[in-house]
Amino acid sequence: MSGRVLLAVAVALVLAAVALTRVLENQYYYFATYVILQYVVLATAWNILGGYTGYVNFGSAAFFATGAYTAAVLIKAVAAPFPVLLVAGGLVAGLLGLGIGYLTLRLRGVFFAIATLALAVVLQTLVVNWGYVGGSRGIYTLRPARVPFFDNYVEFLFVVMVVLALGALATARWIERSWIGRGLVAIRDNEEAAECMGVPTLRLKLVATTVSGALMGVAGAPFPYYLTYMEPTSAFNLDYAINSLAMPMIGGTTTWVGPLVGAVLLGAAQQVATVTISSALNLLIVGLVVVAFVILAPEGIVGLFRRWRARARA
């Protein structure tokens, strides 16, 4: 599909989301969709580093929580307006990504994954012991009493997440089609060869960790307002790390469509399970589905679809 068509679709989706807030009253749907959209951002962000570049990040929660806590601090300290939260959350998490990139990108494969997992643990410990943001007791954030144009704050957050998800997808698509993306794919396939060909491997990997981290931070920035009460275990929840890795794997890691498909399907399944059975089931669902995909369809749904289409044509 051409860029212009996709842009039109994106604009239509935002308008539809706004229109929906005029019609649909039940708050639950906004809460649930918000979570799914948040996973679209996280999965897309993860895929830039994990899918394109082949560096598996197990610390998505760290970047997400960095965005969330940056926002919480800014709200508490200076009552910062909403757009500032998004920018600051992305900026701080992006810088974290850059720094972590410098420190850990010498590691490859499973060692990189372990390092990122450790990052989440270290940051969580720091936050737990940080009195200003409430430590392990958590922090309350009061939503602004009124938000222009929307009936209530949840509907506003929902529309914001729609925009963020589309923004993340656009970023991923742009990277994928640029020389940056080609270079990242080369790194995934054979890093040494990429270096021989004059692909600036270190610089590209740093771009990937920074962009990936920044997007995750942006996804986390509205989190204090979404929950109104946030504590470290919810912000650093392992769910974020697992889901943002499982969703692209299920959808397919080679294109921007994969994380979108994976996040929508898995995210929706989890929301349904939460309502009908129990939220405790969510991680089990993820685990089973990932195992099934790794065995049966390692290229994800996008890969399945491509193979099916190739066969239909042949």
Partner: protein, 238 residues
Amino acid sequence: MVRDVEAGYGAVRVLHGVSMEVNEGETVALLGTNGNGKSTLLKCIMGIVRPDAGEIVLEEDGRRTSLVGRSPEEIVGLGIALVPEGRRLFPKLTVEENLLLGAYRREARAEIAGNLRFCLDAFPVLGERRRQLAGSLSGGEQQMLALARAVMSSPRILLVDEPSVGLAPILVSRVIAKIRELKESHHLTVLMAEQNFNQATKIADRGYIIVHGQIEFEGHSTRELAEHELVKKYYLGV
């Protein structure tokens, strides 16, 4: 031009003061058996291995550019391309994607369409297998792809590391002939590391013999090389 280069990996010294020179338009062979430092020297020139001492200088139109301390992408940017040992393709990318990645260098991106057409013409087999994964090609085809990918960066200097490795003799001849063909059509300067003396000297103007990280002999012609006792001992079995 390389002067007094010393390099190694960790505590292991591989090159002990290697000096050599390649002039514009020449094809120079770097001969030596396994483990004597041929690949390490080429990697030093490409900036993949950092030399501990010595100079590596590119002289062009009277300008001298030191290559030591430069990153591989800068060196590729100067018009030097490496066909790495063991080919080092991107196995899960298609032939065409491999070729496009050869043109990562900024100067080469502008010439990408022309270079791609040239490569597909010069290597018809790659044209046929354009959409196939590089990993599914045969050894000879892979070597051709590695060569073509290097040409995609519009280089002036081509470094070739053991093009004969793992190939049947008839394919080696074909690859070697292709290198000569590329050299002539693109006015390249070629430095080729090779163990296969007979094949290398088919296209080389002259050569060096490297033993234990030192240049043991400089042959000003292929004949001088062939008559040298080291060559007789190692390659010709005399």
